[in-house]
Symmetry: C2
Subunit: 114 residues, 2 copies
DNA sequence: GTTTAATATATCGAACTTCTATATATTGGA
DNA sequence: TCCAATATATAGAAGTTCGATATATTAAAC
């Protein structure tokens, strides 16, 4: 099936998912499913962080020390795993945003728009 | 060795190399090595399209019908392969730029900057 | 009461792109 | 003469994302 023109190509997302997760956690402690919903909501449905990308990414950021997690209970009474950003994670978020901006600027220069 | 902070992470480039190549060819017919130099130059050294990425990408865009190539002779008298963008390639370039802009906007929304 | 959709976590393998390393050959300058 | 730059090309490794699959709970619809 042809890609919906309203849906940005998710391969352009590569390398930015960790940043989006860290940004979401920087606002508030959250469980995995809620992180995905928040990213999808804020992006206007453009970014659908799928489970198969999200959970490996959550493992990744924990392994790097950028977030930690613990089992807890959601507001609706369900058993969920809560993720919290660490100080190292906040620092990393800043680095990733800088890198992202630098790459955007560089690409725009090649496109003749900067 | 630690990544130079002046060098953007190239994994953020993923999915955009074809666009950058098509953009370069949209300006003028060029051979592979010159395309890489032009991209590096315009990006202020931020994007170094390496040979191992460039030549597979050039194969890709030709396979998709976005560019064609022929052996020729450079201004310095060397045997080189010249690449030319096709009408289909110009159309694709427009699509890729739109997708890129849409993804940038979506990411910025998640980052709370739009 | 039963079925279905939504919520929630998790893993697997396929697909894709990029990189480094390697190979080959030519040209110009030190 | 040697070395750096020019020029094309392939192979294999690494990394990320995705769809598919699995499991389990809860709420709503019928």
């Amino acid at each position: 099936m042809a890609r919906d023109s309203a849906t940005p190509r998710n391969d352009l997302l590569k390398g930015t998912l960790d940043m989006l997760i860290l940004q979401t956690l920087a606002v508030q402690k959250m469980h995995g499913y809620a992180i995905a919903q928040r990213i999808e909501e804020l992006s206007g449905g453009a970014i659908g962080a799928e489970a198969g990308s999200l959970y490996p990414a959550l493992e990744r950021v924990q392994k790097k020390g950028w977030a930690k997690s613990e089992w807890g209970v959601s507001t609706t009474g369900r058993r969920v795993r809560y993720y919290t950003i660490t100080a190292s994670g906040r620092k990393q978020l800043g680095i990733e945003i800088s890198d992202f901006d630098a790459m955007f600027l560089a690409i725009n220069r090649v496109l003749g728009r900067a």
